[in-house]
């Protein structure tokens, strides 16, 4: 693609440096909109949040001066913190692992040719397009022990003896929320793996079978290794999405008092909204932000998305 660019001359380093700058400057007008938006709405608030995490901010938003590391200290002393961190780990690992495993099976199934496959694929994308709050809300209603229709259906098909209060206590409510998170993560993950499967040439599979490999051996030795990049990308994007997920837990466990069913993300929002502690919330957000950055670094390493086509 660099054919049209003038070849840099080795004998005139200053001229070539100036030429390089000229080429960057020429790109400016085309990129300026994106750069301004990223600087103003992503980078600046990130820096400002870091600043706020070192300030003492009143519940009415008045900056009362420097606070040193007090906000981080308050965070560390929060009695619920160990539970919240444990919840976050269970939430992210549990949801992502189950999502990827179910999606592997689902993608394999949707890759087969059968009448009506297109309609099934369309049905699978619905939870992806739909608002997550709305999806979580219908589950919350459906699992109500009294008027909930899903609870009722579970009794009717014999899986339950009597309606169960899934959303009333911490542990079952958290498990239900994880189930919903898997449900809304499946479409994207399945589609990503499906795209990966479609890049595996049919001849490769036939060759493996001719060599005497059974179905399971073919899948393990041929299909899975070739799916590796797709699995890596789907996993990382899911980790980010699931880590940042607010609406599901807010809807399902929001009415449970205390922080026993919170992740670091939902705790941040409780600190901002209910407790009006923007300074402590900023400190927690900075911690979240660092975690997300660490995940991004791993992503760039593992998936190497910058490989040119």
């Amino acid at each position: 693609m660099s054919r049209a660019d003038p070849a840099p001359t080795r004998s005139a380093p200053t001229r070539s440096a100036r030429a390089r700058w000229a080429r960057t400057a020429a790109a400016g007008p085309w990129l300026v909109g994106v750069l301004v938006l990223i600087a103003g709405v992503v980078l600046f608030p990130a820096g400002y949040m870091l600043w706020n995490s070192l300030r003492d901010i009143s519940e009415f938003g008045v900056d009362r001066g420097p606070a040193g590391l007090e906000n981080y200290q308050r965070l560390a002393e929060l009695a619920a913190l160990p539970r919240v961190l444990l919840n976050t780990a269970v939430w992210v690992v549990g949801v992502v692992v189950i999502t990827v495993l179910v999606s592997l099976a689902l993608a394999q199934f949707l890759d087969k040719a059968f009448p009506g496959r297109r309609l099934v694929r369309m049905a699978v994308i619905v939870p992806w397009a739909a608002s997550v709050v709305m999806t979580a809300t219908v589950f919350y209603y459906g699992l109500d022990p009294f008027y909930g229709i899903m609870n009722h259906a579970l009794v009717d098909i014999g899986l339950l003896d009597a309606p169960y209060g899934f959303t009333k206590n911490t542990v079952p409510a958290f498990a239900v929320a994880m189930g919903i998170a898997v449900f809304v993560s499946l479409p994207f993950t399945t589609y990503t793996l499906l795209a990966g499967l479609q890049t595996i040439p049919g001849e490769v599979l036939e060759a493996a079978q001719l060599d005497g490999a059974g179905r399971i051996a073919t899948y393990r030795r041929v299909v899975l290794p070739m799916l590796r990049p797709a699995i890596a990308v789907a996993t990382i994007i899911n980790i980010i999405n699931v880590f940042n997920s607010l609406p599901i837990l807010r809807t399902i466990t929001g009415s449970i008092p205390g922080y026993s069913a919170d992740t670091t993300t939902t705790l941040t929002f409780k600190l901002i909204q209910a407790d009006r502690q923007v300074d402590t919330a900023s400190a927690l957000s900075v911690v979240n932000f660092v975690l997300v950055l660490a995940i991004i670094v791993v992503y760039v390493r593992v998936a190497r998305p910058m490989r040119e086509h």
Binding site: D5, I125, A129, I149, T199, A232, S282
Partner: protein, 287 residues
């Protein structure tokens, strides 16, 4: 890339095995549609029936007028919430289109020092969500005096959806052979004319995908709106919905009617770009 992956030749489209697969497919479809079927059916139930113990699967009395009385429910000014959702989503999508198209075009067509850094920066924003920056965004908008305005949410939605749009359009621009551009330029067309008459029609599918995906993401945005939009009338449908939850006699029939109104259009839009969704989201790393 996945966009152009050739379809595998179809095998085994008939016979008992196909019947078995189709039946399994029907079950899968049902599982994914079940919550939304409950929504649609619930939106037609009268209030006493939706809170009945035990509940009935279908309404005994169908109430399509829920979709009329919905608009004057006391919990939230719903017509204004719909307007907010539409204004924010449309403006944010137009803003994304306006800034992402030139960037995608230029980075696909030209190499320059800093190009890789720029593309990495854009990619990194895909990994960030407004949720993790909500505290900073909230304080920034208070200082700027635009907290609790449409403008604030238009900026947030645009910034956090840029990445998908830049990447999918970048890959479409990169797929157009340079020779086509050069031929048009030789024929005397200016660079802008070439872009408008030759290149844009070829990358049209990429633009449509970017527009629809951005629009749907803005339409469903929840976390940042929850913190930044504090006035009832400014809130989008996703936040307005939470006004019903947690009350003892929740007007569930309205919750579901709002959900149907909010979900149906975006599902239809998503179905249009189904085949190209993955390509943009995975930014070219799935081959």
């Amino acid at each position: 890339m996945a966009v152009t992956a050739p379809a595998r030749p179809r095998r085994g489209g008939r016979g008992p095995r196909a019947l078995l697969l189709s039946t399994a497919g029907l079950l899968v479809a049902l599982v994914f549609l079940a919550p939304y079927l409950i929504m649609v059916i619930g939106s037609f139930k009268p209030r006493p029936e939706i809170l009945a113990v035990p509940p009935g699967y279908l309404p005994r009395q169908w109430r399509p007028d829920n979709y009329v009385t919905l608009w004057s429910t006391p919990e939230t000014p719903l017509p204004l919430n719909l307007i907010s959702t539409v204004v924010i989503s449309v403006c944010a999508t137009l803003l994304v289109l306006a800034v992402a198209t030139p960037a995608a075009y230029y980075t696909a067509r030209h190499r320059f020092p800093g190009r890789l850094v720029f593309l990495l920066l854009v990619l990194a924003t895909q990994m960030l969500q407004p949720t993790v920056l909500a505290a900073g965004l909230f304080r920034e908008f208070v200082v700027l005096g635009i907290n609790d305005t449409w403008l604030a949410m238009i900026l947030v939605n645009a910034a956090f959806n840029l990445s998908f749009a830049v990447w999918i359009m970048h890959s479409f621009f990169a797929a157009v052979p340079r020779e086509i551009d050069e031929a048009a330029m030789l024929d005397g067309a200016s660079r802008l004319q070439t872009l408008r008459r030759v290149t844009l029609p070829l990358v049209w599918p990429g633009i449509v995908t970017a527009v629809i995906f951005t629009f749907v993401a803005c339409w469903n945005e929840f976390a940042a709106s929850l913190v930044i939009l504090t006035t009832d009338a400014n809130q989008p449908l996703s936040v307005a919905l939470t006004k019903f939850a947690g009350q003892y006699d929740s007007a569930w029939q309205y919750v579901f009617a709002i959900s149907v109104v909010a979900i149906a259009p975006v599902v239809l839009l998503f179905a249009l770009i189904e085949r190209r969704l993955v390509a943009g989201l995975t930014a070219g790393s799935v081959k």
